[in-house]
Amino acid sequence: MAYSEKVIDHYTHPRNVGTLDKAKKNVGTGLVGAPECGDVMRLQIEVDDNHVITDAKFKTFGCGSAIASSSLATEWLKGKTVDQAMEIDNMDIVEELALPPVKIHCSVLAEDAIKSAINDYRVKNGLEPIQLEKSHH
């Protein structure tokens, strides 16, 4: 199976690889997936006083499409407000990266990681976590 050019680009030059200080109050961390499933994503956001995401970092254990999905997610997150970030749908990632059907779960995982990071940030800052519908598309 051949990969799309965009997957290869993100895979070869992943954006925003790294770690934010998860102890900080304005950093939200999402860790999703499981080693047994062959995919683990950690996505982190740093949020300013206006609820704008100023930085995003990821690390991913997984196939090329999983790495590309999380790399793309960090690109999209930066500059968005937290509320805007909640709107990112896995199908947007599928479309942007031209993921084949067998790789859709990679985009689902990236969406889960975004929401999980946002909820971590919300809880840390005394806000209610947003109830997530189980996002299996």
């Binding site: 199976m1 080693p35 062959g38 995919d39 994503m41 254990f61 997984g62 196939c63 689902v108």
Partner: protein, 404 residues
């Protein structure tokens, strides 16, 4: 000059040796006859070529040429052996024994036996990939008619104790079939010394053409018969009908002859290259060789690079054609059942790479492969949250992972 990409997937298939192609070519064009045409020279020429190839194929496994049934490949041979023995001997008993690490075509043939009223025991393997002989003997009942255990495994290369298995089979009057697809042409195989009653092998794993293989069926002590699975003109002593694939058979025979001639030196060369490769990549920490390393094929190495996912890794090992036990592409997301049966955790199975060296692999290619692999693993570990946790001393088993 190093030519890219480099093919290191010789357990999947091998490139055809140019000497094999040369032997085959006339049988596509001017020597096109049907080997079953008994009344003119076109048929005689084809028949003569098939007989010669039958001798070559028999010789590499120490058999008589009358014991070779040509098939379309090892999948067909395995189907014919298992279903054919079951149908032929079901008056005697309905139980067969095989192993969980067999190739899918053996496992699925066994499942077919279950569907038509047979009973199958699937033996587990030890952590090194070998079966427990006592477990095998204990599984035999008075209804057992067949034991089918592969000679060498396609994913990890471990060689089963074939002689001990056949001794047990003989003692209990049970037939012994072995899928020797990965072994023939790589290590010495002798149906008499090894006590084998039926043996499957194929051309494209030993530098011959795809689409031609054989099933060895013992003729003496005991005389074995299988019920044909393809009916028709009664070719191949009535056990496999269909016009013979003369060019394929000629190539298969030639491939056997070359492999036999070169085996002694080639296996030493390949084992040295394999060891070099293994030594080169296992200098990295948290890197493990899977399966028994003493009884195994000379040309295959299966390595897990912990905290890195196999498919992602293959993508980074650009210009290297290898395979992985990871199954990120399959709908089930299940990693290799062979690696799992060794008791490997799923995450290690997801992190595995199979390197399969071959006749045309050079030392320069191996050196290149070592460097590319190390670079890829290092790159992906920098990207891996699991690697970071491991480096921070976090026990990954203590984390409650969300299944997805």
């Amino acid at each position: 000059m190093l030519e890219l990409p480099i093919y290191l997937d010789n357990n999947a298939t091998t490139p055809m040796d140019p000497r094999v192609l040369e032997a085959m070519l006339p049988y596509f064009t001017n020597k096109f006859g049907n080997a079953a045409s008994r009344n003119h020279s076109f048929g005689w020429v084809a028949e003569e070529a098939v007989d010669y190839a039958r001798g070559q194929a028999a010789k590499i496994i120490g058999a008589n040429e009358k014991e070779i049934i040509f098939t379309s490949g090892a999948t067909e041979s395995n189907n014919l052996a298992i279903k054919g023995v079951f149908e032929m001997y079901q008056q005697k008993g309905n139980h067969i024994i095989t192993v969980v690490t067999e190739h899918k075509c053996v496992l699925d043939s066994a499942h077919h036996i279950e569907k038509i009223g047979g009973k199958v025991t699937f033996l587990q393997v030890k952590p090194d990939g070998l079966i427990d002989l006592k477990e095998l003997e204990d599984a035999i009942t008075d209804k057992t008619i067949l034991i089918s255990v592969m000679y060498a495994n396609n994913e990890i290369g471990v060689i089963q104790p074939v002689r001990e298995i056949s001794a047990i089979a003989r003692k209990h009057g049970v037939l012994f079939h072995t899928d020797a697809t990965q072994a023939v042409g790589k290590i010495p195989v002798d149906v008499n010394a090894d006590g084998i009653d039926l043996l499957s092998f194929t051309g494209h794993k030993l530098y011959g053409p795809k689409g031609c293989g054989a099933l060895y069926v013992r003729r003496k002590n005991p005389r074995v018969k299988v019920t044909a699975q393809i009916d028709g003109g009664g070719h191949e002593r009535g056990m496999r009908s269909g016009t013979l694939n003369v060019p394929g058979i000629v190539g298969f025979g030639k491939a056997c002859e070359i492999a036999m001639e070169e085996m002694a030196t080639e296996s030493v060369r390949l084992a040295a290259l394999r060891d070099k490769l293994e030594k080169g990549v296992t200098v990295m920490e948290e890197t493990y060789v899977n399966g028994n390393t003493e009884n195994r094929l000379p040309h295959v190495s299966n390595v897990s690079f912990k905290y890195v996912e196999g498919e992602g890794l293959m993508m980074a090992m650009k210009d290297l054609a290898v395979s992985s036990g990871s199954a990120c592409t399959s709908a089930s997301l299940e990693p290799s059942y062979v690696l799992k049966s060794l008791g490997l955790n799923d995450d290690l199975a997801h992190s595995s790479i199979r390197f399969g060296l071959g006749r045309f692999t050079t030392e320069e290619e191996v050196d290149y492969a070592i460097e590319v692999t190390k670079k890829a693993v290092t790159h992906l570990r920098e990207l891996s949250p699991l690697w970071e946790m491991f480096k921070e001393g976090i026990d990954l088993d203590s984390i409650e992972w969300a299944e997805h």
